[in-house]
Symmetry: C2
Subunit: 374 residues, 2 copies
């Protein structure tokens, strides 16, 4: 069984951008990479073939949702999540922590784990570090995340310190519970809120435990972009250069470009898929809302500079019609385009880093947004 | 411009089943054929590529819906419905009559046409035979249907006689309004309810006007299957052998097999697509409801005898999970399978007629339903 590995291929001279390659039992992943979110065992609206067609190398699935329905033991008996959903490339699972902590009134934190009530049927469960790892292993994820608390923003220093300490103790329990029998990787998650010294402490203690990769958690939780970038800047240099760095739940195309320039290798976010279902489309010149009346007879593709299947075959007028009519195909086509936009942006960033032109790429990215009009 | 034509290729010796070929400006259509319904300019949930992959040769679009949204002039300005929806194979449009008459309180019939209120915004419109043809020509349909009243069931003989007479007068006006500049075909629709002599009168008068094909309307409106088959038996022999015969809005797989054996060449129905979205799937052994708990850990495909994309890649357990989770992909995959089932049934029927084995095909069709269990 080939073990997970990461190779750093290129470093940009003008920024902290890096070009790397992860090796997993299910194939290589070129970084920086964006991971489409497939919450319930499907990236909403897209067939696996379409996902591959637009260059998805790895997708993310949600432990919380699959634990509750259809249940990880069911998925295990059916051959694991890859077979279940017909996706043979790598899968990263989150730990379930983010969703559980989002339940608000429906959950209670103890040292043992989090007691929560299902949003589906109100049933009570305890999600512990050990169970989170067990579920992720049953699903057959290639990259498994440690169970942590995603700290809300704002939060007091006291709360952040205590929560981060507990997440570190949980991370150790995750490491002990993790078997990695199928060559999987286990990633730790740095917390510490917006407090640089707590981020430092968290990252040091996690490195003592030792993980295959390191995530920065607790970002994109309502803070301003400048604060998010500060947290990246204070945390990423503390992480080992020879391990992949993953900023969770981020973000806009701008966040991605800024993240890459600060040394991030991996991203995930529901933004391209959720926005697609709401008729908001990403283009090289910024976002557009396809429901606007101005597109009713617009025969242009979403983005004339885009080469995706949707832009090659469909007009803004047709996409507006589908959206206005509540047609399933609106979600299908919009999701296809938005994920292509995100994945293509990553592919262009990788090429730019390889060619030593990341600074030009980044300048160009902003220039097109400022000067072009739909 | 090649003109619409129909060639009768084979006749079954044991039944009235026929194997034919329609030639349209957008290619040949092998009959008997089922036409998937694409009400609002999309077959709900399926990409055009998937439709072609499962053997769709022609689809149906609804004049009423496209007239109201996005509007036929908009579609015309955008290059016609084929370009608008990225479907280059033939399209048949209905006349709008069926939907307008289904509006109940919201419509009033006059000799001129039908005054109705839009189900979208309550706006008032008059749909006349001339406007129906104009809209269908603006959409660029390859087969255009005459505007008629789809008579409800049950109805008195008096009402059926008067309505059928009016539909005949409207059919003449349709013929006069029809230009067929792009080689399109115009089909007349036989009415007459469940009264054989009114059906006979309608079919004779329509043939005097002269159409490229003949439909049997007013079936599948709540009558028993035996009555539907009687109406087919009394009407189809009255129609010219050298023109295609289309039974509108029919039906179940059983209805299709029985229709073919009585000489029907063309069918359309929302059943495979609508049922798919409700989790009801067609198989060689009958219908199944994928939401049933018995499928929760069933690793089999929907139908082990089916070779479609869905049955090759997904288990009943996964499809049940998608349905229970309200995922878009449930509709996409279920629709793909159901339409493949319908289209493959037609392909098998065509082969059976060619090989002089239609009676065996029909016996086999029922045998599998009676003896096999899911």
């Amino acid at each position: 069984m080939e073990r997970f590995a990461f190779a750093l291929l290129n470093k940009d001279s003008g920024t902290s951008a890096r070009r790397g390659r992860m090796l997993t039992p299910r194939g290589a992943i070129e970084t920086p990479i964006f991971m489409p979110v497939g919450t319930q065992g499907t990236v909403k609206g897209l067939l696996p073939e379409a996902l591959k067609d637009i260059g998805a190398q790895i997708i993310l699935a949600n432990t919380y949702h699959l634990f509750l329905r259809p249940g990880h033991e069911t998925v295990r008996r059916l051959g694991g999540l890859h077979a279940f959903m017909n996706w043979e490339l790598p899968i990263l699972t989150d730990s379930g922590g983010f969703q559980v902590f989002s339940l608000g009134e429906l959950r209670r934190i103890t040292e043992e784990g989090v007691v929560f009530q299902s949003h589906l049927d109100g049933s009570r469960h305890l999600l512990s570090p050990e169970l989170s790892i067990e579920v992720q292993q049953a699903l057959g994820a290639d990259i498994i995340m440690a169970f942590d608390e995603c700290i809300p923003y704002p939060a007091t220093r006291d709360y952040v310190a205590q929560s981060t300490q507990r997440s570190t103790r949980w991370a150790l329990r995750c490491k002990q519970a993790f078997r990695g029998e199928a060559g999987q990787a286990l990633f730790g998650i740095v917390q510490g809120g917006m407090f640089p010294e707590l981020r430092r402490q968290s990252s040091e203690e996690l490195q003592e435990i030792g993980f295959d990769g390191y995530a920065v958690g607790g970002l994109s939780v309502g803070e301003e972009a400048s604060l998010m970038y500060e947290a990246m800047e204070s945390t990423l240099p503390l992480l080992p250069e020879d391990r992949p760095r993953y900023v969770m739940g981020v973000g806009t195309p701008e966040n991605l470009v800024e993240g890459i320039s600060r040394g991030v290798d991996m991203f995930d976010c529901v933004m391209p898929t959720r926005n697609a279902r709401n008729g908001v489309l990403f283009t090289s010149f910024g976002k557009i809302s396809i429901k606007q009346a101005r597109y009713a007879e617009d025969s242009q593709p979403i983005d004339p500079a885009c080469g995706c299947y949707v832009c090659r075959h469909y007009s803004r007028a047709y996409l507006r019609h589908l959206y206005q009519s509540g047609e399933i195909l609106a979600s299908v086509l919009n999701t296809h385009h938005n994920l292509h936009y995100y994945l293509n942006l990553m592919a262009e960033a990788r090429r730019a880093i390889e060619n030593g032109q990341f600074t030009e790429f980044r300048r160009d990215f902003y220039h097109r947004r400022e000067t072009q009009d739909s």
